[in-house]
Assembly symmetry: C2
């Protein structure tokens, strides 16, 4: 995804109508070089700055969860009061800087192979998420 036409295609192809709001949200999220970690509140503030036509908070919630369901966004497990999302949906991990509370992507290749030696009968492993807390 990298421009308006592509966003429209992507939205259509996944059964989401390309509304002004969804396109603006795509731009805010995916017109970036680096992956982006954010809360709904972060995104709301960014959208308010970017354009004067307001997008309702409800729509931001709706859209973010729609994108999450389509696997265009990933939810990150942290114990904070707000929910964090990540535009990097590939298999990867995170540093959490405890001083700034900022997240940093850790590529899968930055982490040695993780072996889980224990099995739970009848259960399959769906994902392995690593959170590395760092500070000064």
């Amino acid at each position: 995804m990298n421009n308006k036409e592509n966003f429209i295609k992507k939205l259509r192809s996944s059964g989401l109508r390309p509304t002004r709001q969804r396109i603006e949200i795509c731009k805010a999220l995916y017109d970036r070089k680096k992956t982006f970690h954010f809360t709904i509140d972060d995104l709301n503030k960014i959208l308010r700055k970017k354009s004067k036509e307001k997008i309702s908070l409800a729509t931001i919630y709706n859209t973010v969860y729609a994108f999450k369901n389509k696997n265009y966004l990933k939810e990150i497990s942290l114990n904070t009061n707000k929910t964090y999302f990540d535009t990097n949906v590939s298999n990867h991990h995170h540093f959490l800087d405890e001083n700034s509370n900022r997240l940093i992507d850790l590529k899968n290749s930055d982490v040695g192979k993780v072996k889980i030696k224990r099995k739970i009968p009848g259960k399959k492993i769906k994902s392995i998420e690593i959170l590395v807390r760092i500070s000064d």
Copy 2:
């Protein structure tokens, strides 16, 4: 910690007055064979069943966070609306059963050594937490 006298000693030694409420909470949390994963709501329900003398919700919050600060409890990173705590404060990891939403301890020795190959200048690693999602 394993009986009333020990709970009282432990509380005193950490500068927490051994009140009826704190002792009852200790019993609910630490008079167990297995480690215990819980939310404030879980703990509240357990305490209501155990004794008729009610402990206020505010006190349960106060006490759980006091215990967390004393390192008698650990907060667990999950993306759920409620905060989870763990009576196992040692270095370890978790399975999360997505069907039942239940947590299962993964001993450190159940996980092969995790190598973090990337370094962030000026930052030290404080902890490494692994969450393994499983389901049927």
